[in-house]
Subunit: 224 residues, 4 copies
Amino acid sequence: MPDEFQEALDKIFTADSELYASRGFARRIGYGKKPALINIDLANAWTREGHAFTCDGMDVIIPGVQKLLDAARAKGIPVVYTTTAYTDTESPNSDMGLWKEKIPVEELKAGTEAVEIDDRIAPLPTEQVIVKKKASAFHGTNLSSYLNSIGVDTVIVTGVTMCACVRHTVEDAIAEGFRPIVVRECVGDRIRGAVEWNLFDIDAKFGDVEPLDNVLDYMRRNEP
Amino acid sequence: MPDEFQEALDKIFTADSELYASRGFARRIGYGKKPALINIDLANAWTREGHAFTCDGMDVIIPGVQKLLDAARAKGIPVVYTTTAYTDTESPNSDMGLWKEKIPVEELKAGTEAVEIDDRIAPLPTEQVIVKKKASAFHGTNLSSYLNSIGVDTVIVTGVTMCACVRHTVEDAIAEGFRPIVVRECVGDRIRGAVEWNLFDIDAKFGDVEPLDNVLDYMRRNEP
Amino acid sequence: MPDEFQEALDKIFTADSELYASRGFARRIGYGKKPALINIDLANAWTREGHAFTCDGMDVIIPGVQKLLDAARAKGIPVVYTTTAYTDTESPNSDMGLWKEKIPVEELKAGTEAVEIDDRIAPLPTEQVIVKKKASAFHGTNLSSYLNSIGVDTVIVTGVTMCACVRHTVEDAIAEGFRPIVVRECVGDRIRGAVEWNLFDIDAKFGDVEPLDNVLDYMRRNEP
Amino acid sequence: MPDEFQEALDKIFTADSELYASRGFARRIGYGKKPALINIDLANAWTREGHAFTCDGMDVIIPGVQKLLDAARAKGIPVVYTTTAYTDTESPNSDMGLWKEKIPVEELKAGTEAVEIDDRIAPLPTEQVIVKKKASAFHGTNLSSYLNSIGVDTVIVTGVTMCACVRHTVEDAIAEGFRPIVVRECVGDRIRGAVEWNLFDIDAKFGDVEPLDNVLDYMRRNEP
């Protein structure tokens, strides 16, 4: 983002943070005892060039997620991936729902390479790959009851896009009773500003935004 | 079921029906305008011999579902199948949840033939096959928002088992706002009595139990 | 229930239990570490004479629930009550949903004495009273995220009716990741047989049916 | 917002809108056939001075909502209000969940004047007032099944705050299958910028942001 934009946003955030502090908002939710790593829509349609859904910043996001995966697997921390895909993108009985009226979900056909998880961060066979139809990883999926059944209390969130699937997932996570931790270097979008203002809103009201090193420290200290 | 058992159940049902009638229960919910056909767990682990989950009555259920499929496809009525399957049936991070503490879900491994839909009633590529983890077709799945988004108001329900997945699906269906119609000849179980008493409870409080011919008539008259 | 009916049901249950045992069903889910007590629809319309919803057996159920409440409150075990009530039982925009097409929910008007919890088992001001619109205590309510947020893993279930609200609640409970324990003496219905066959199905597939004394022992031993 | 901030945001939005247009995002979802009016958290803690939750802009929001209420009631369009309130704001078994770790929900005690709907826009006795515990009006509430059961396909959304309860409600609305229409003049927040960037994200991906006059026109033309 050009410096002038970042500068303008920073000024707004500073003023807003003062109001939040004076009113008792923007508290720290903190890490819980048992985390899961949730990678949102890091499939080829978002991580590779040439798609309507292509996002920026994969040169930082992918290596960051690789480090998180290493840390998670070393400790037996459960890993969940999501992708967004539709069985029927053409008929009147399509499973795209209303979202096709706002964004080009017709490009996300189930079974195509576009909706497969990027092989630089490929899931292991026992890791969960959730095929969702909506923005939130929790909506119309088994994620909440899965995490509850294995005792998870904290969700480490990465992926794209910040202004849709990541944000809605984080909002649902705290509503469902999980502590959301968003990894600052591992989330992205395709438009300017969206990462900044959505991280600002989340940190004020829904979860903690933490740097990658801090999250890696927590995961490496976690007792399985 | 031996005649003496059926006779005893029938006596109870008769007395119960009188009380329900006097209190205003067991009303008719009726058919709506736009149905979907929902086939619950008619996958090989339930429809073929030799599994822990094998059910009785497939000589009647499968031909009945074939007729329903023909009627649905002729009219463009949406068809949904469910199966129950788990990615990880062994590790502490298994997606089986608590159900493994009650029933042998460890035999329902994702990707095996056991959890594939019986090929006598194979889905078309555009029909929805929902992989669920719990009894209800609605729990942790996109079914409710899928049906709403395509305007469905009525669910024609077939499959197994009557005392678990079919019953819970019907209860959730009316709660979600869909008129449940259970096809009497097309539901089954593996224990005696379960079909009878669960159909009785459903017809009193959750949905209408209708004979196959009546349902076929409705579907054939349906205006797409 | 006349002896002949009970005898016939018992014969069916015995045969069914043998099949379940040979197939690996009807396992014990057991008690977890942190229980909550959930009392389903023990409001006047169900517990007192003269209503369409009046149930049998309150001479046993109410004293049983009183003992459970004493045990829960002594240990700081969270207590949740449900009732079923509707704001608008008359207009086209009623919140009764489709259930009015099956059962007389129009008699359950919010704000009336009929839908208040029976004062023999009155809630304390800090205990949760959930007003639900459907059979399950979980459907369209905050119950699941409430229980998760306070770390509950086990739900002790009492109330009515066995064939609708209690059963659907138990099915949802295990789906959501809570161990359901149904207190045999503290559940009821208004028709004959419904308690027996629904407890049979639940014990086989969804939760453990336990006698009151066993549940009281567990609660009294629970470490808050 | 000072002109310099608005100007900076507008520049970002212009660049972002070009990218969205070139990729096929920011489509129009449009109005459906049967709307409901959903007023989010227009209770005294948000609409009146002196609370941690007090929001700006009530001199415009309240008169706008009054006009929407008049239009809705004239046409029999269902009206839903939400408020956020907690039964137990003190004990370990509190219903506040994790949200108290981020924002001062302990000030939203059920039964107090603070959480009652502002009497300048008081609900009629038959209108639904939903007491929610989380940001979204859909989370842990009967809203989705209520709207489905009365055939609603479009939700007209007003209220506060833009960056939390309104945004999460809109995201859930489209996921559940309702067309979200946000009334530009009738939403607010307590921090600068939040209205602007959240409306931008919503209009790109989740619902249409429309001026009050346009929404009033639609409602007045609606055939009940």
